[in-house]
């Protein structure tokens, strides 16, 4: 059946710079914000924007991600006629291989898109934290009668050379794409979010697939080719919170941002819900001697110690006399008594023995603790 717009959500990234966090997990599946996984923000954006036809392209360690997305129920994407579809690289009889690039990932799934005969394709990725109404982006694309529209965000001038910069006319028409320019002419960075007219994109994908020297990447190949051919391309300026949580440091920062009240990123908004799975854990239990300040705490937690500037996922025990500061505690972690945890990320299921001290302030970036490296911290003794 025909759909006006199909979204293709790229969720295959390995997220290598996230170290231990993505050792056995695709980046979009990494826990975030006390209850969510990173991809929940993008899927919730789809749901809230009434984009109901979503192909999710997974490849790296897809097991948990596939399970998380499942039939799409939390995002109201469990639909008879469209909804969310997981598109893994197909294994043919003679073997299969990973997608060669972002454009190749879409190219390999042309049959999926064609069945909906769409006017527009929305290309998004599951790596970023932001709340965005894609309907407005698509509306902008239509108004400008654009062939391709790229969502951009203003970045500080001094950081602009770290991004793909779009140089535009006053009416936002794009005339140049500068990948990480040394001397940027502009501070509008591409967010990696594109709307294309499907007919046009389809043609470019077919051509690009035949090029042996192409990286089959949107930023490196498709967009430059389209610009070169003089297609109508416009920028759409997004205003709001947007963060690529690509490193341990930025992952930790994004969490600290979440504790800031005056950022526009809000989990509490009734207008823009962020959806994820909910569990049947009972309400959190706060003990007689607990102290909690400036923190987010999820269901099933049992707090008897001190928690400050931290984010606790579900079913976490914090023992008496333990103190947690500027840390992120993934689900099902047990922190026994007399522990001190500072600027650390404790991974799912870890048990922290009594008296352990983990102080991330002594290191360049926050410490990531799993059930293997926890032994390194056990014997440091108690000094508070």
């Amino acid at each position: 059946m025909k759909k006006e717009c199909v979204a293709m959500l790229l969720a295959g990234g390995e997220g290598k710079r996230l170290g231990l966090l993505t050792k056995t997990l695709a980046k979009p599946a990494v826990h975030f914000g006390g209850k969510y996984r990173i991809i929940d923000f993008t899927l919730s954006n789809c749901s809230n924007s009434s984009v109901h036809t979503v192909g999710v392209l997974t490849q790296y360690s897809p097991m948990l991600l596939n399970k998380h997305i499942g039939i799409g129920k939390p995002w109201d994407l469990d639909r008879q006629e469209d909804g969310v579809s997981i598109l893994s690289p197909y294994t043919a009889k003679k073997g299969g291989s990973w997608y060669k690039g972002t454009a190749d990932a879409i190219y390999q799934n042309i049959h999926y898109i064609d069945q909906y005969d769409p006017e527009y394709i929305l290309v998004i990725s599951g790596d970023h934290i932001y709340q965005m109404d894609y309907a407005k982006l698509i509306e902008h694309h239509k108004e400008k009668q654009s062939d391709a529209t790229i969502s951009v965000i203003e970045v500080p001038w001094k950081e602009a050379s770290r991004f793909g910069i779009l140089n535009t006319l006053d009416n936002l028409e794009i005339y140049e794409f500068d990948e990480k320019p040394e001397t940027p002419k502009n501070n509008l960075a591409s967010m990696g979010i594109y709307v294309f007219n499907w007919k046009a994109l389809r043609q470019y994908l077919m051509e690009d697939a035949n090029l042996t020297d192409s990286d089959h990447d949107f930023g490196k190949d498709i967009i430059p080719a389209m610009l070169n051919d003089g297609l109508r391309m416009y920028a759409y300026q997004f205003e709001g919170y947007w963060k690529d949580v690509g490193t341990i440091q930025s992952y930790w920062e994004a969490h600290m941002d979440l504790l800031e009240e005056d950022l526009s990123l809000s989990l509490n908004s009734k207008e823009w819900r962020t959806y994820s799975h909910d569990t049947n854990y009972p309400p959190q239990f706060i003990g007689e001697y607990a102290i909690i300040e400036n923190s987010l705490i999820n269901s099933g937690c049992w707090i008897n110690g001190k928690v400050t500037n931290s984010i606790l996922f579900e079913r976490i025990d914090v023992g008496a006399n333990s103190s947690i500061n500027e840390s992120i505690i993934h689900p099902e972690v047990r922190i026994n008594s007399n522990c001190l945890i500072k600027k650390a990320i404790i991974m799912e299921g870890v048990e922290i023995p009594e008296g352990t001290i983990i102080d991330g302030e002594k290191y360049d970036e926050p410490l990531v603790i799993n059930s293997e490296n926890i032994v390194d911290f056990q014997k440091e003794g108690v000094e508070r």
Binding site: P74, Y275, F285, I286, G287, N298, S299
Partner: protein, 368 residues
Amino acid sequence: MGDLMGLINLEHEQDFLEELTYFRCGAAAPFAGRYRLVDFTLSNMVNSGVSEVAIFTNSKYRSLMDHLGTGADWELARRHGGLFILPPDWNDPTDVSRGDLKHFHNNRDYFHRSKASHVVISGSQFISNAHYKKAFKLHLEREADVTCITTEVDTLEPEHMSQLRIEHDNDGWVTGFTNDHENKHVFTNAYIIKKEVLLKLLDECIAYHKDHFFLGGVKENLDSLAVQYINSEGCSIFINSIKSFYKHNMNLLQPDNYRSLFFKNEFIRTKISNEPPAKYRESSKVTTSMLANGCVIDGEVSGSILFRGVKVHKGTKVKNSIVMQRCIIEEGVHLENVILDKDVRITAGQTFIGSKDKPFVVAKRQTI
């Protein structure tokens, strides 16, 4: 356990929670920070492998329907079997049945269409986290017509007074149902019954103009029926008044009770929400309390239970209170021994204090 179907009978449980049941039936009353009373019976059924459950509702069932929805959150949104909420809607002028028999009679279809040959029946006022599996096993082994779930209490409390007590012989056969005020062996109103026995008693009850299936059908025919009992394990709570409602909420703030109701068995299922984790701001001070997700706390909370999405503003103290969904408590308020129903807003600077025996109750959607 495919052989056991479920029935939650609310006909004789009406309006027992005063202000809290002005606009909803008791089964839909919020409890323990994120649940409704009905969640416990329903979860125990589902966690015991029961895959079809009917609910006989009488009036004020709208919020119950809203809460249960399609039944998906209890794994009951099934194409075959599932959840059947059965409000009173019958139009047969020749129907002479009365009381809960009217429900049984008009919903015979539910019993006939199922392949199950036994039915577990319960109300919503007994709160526990226990399987019916053991009881069903005993029921089958003993070839009982009826197996009553009971509990032996250490101390009789006011909420036990209205419950039937059981007398039994050494083989576990029930010999009498009494109202003996000294008897500590209390019937929970939950029982398993053979479907064919149910249908037979149903006809008898209607023929003799009875208006209560258990009293008129099972209790009065005790001589001719084989009735076993089995004690429910773990946490056993009866809620049939505002006083017992308040008391048992507060009791959950003792760690042992919290653990026993929530972590001793499978989880109690309830309606899934999309609330973010609870937010504790700089000035928050929270001790000995249960909080659900979506709360935002700036003030002081102690000895209290806060449901989803409650906001406690700066300089406010909430003590020994139950605050239901989405209440907003503005700045400089002092609450003690108070129950706020959903969507109440307490405007700045006010003080409300009740007592443990007579908590101050505010009905829903008021601004005071």
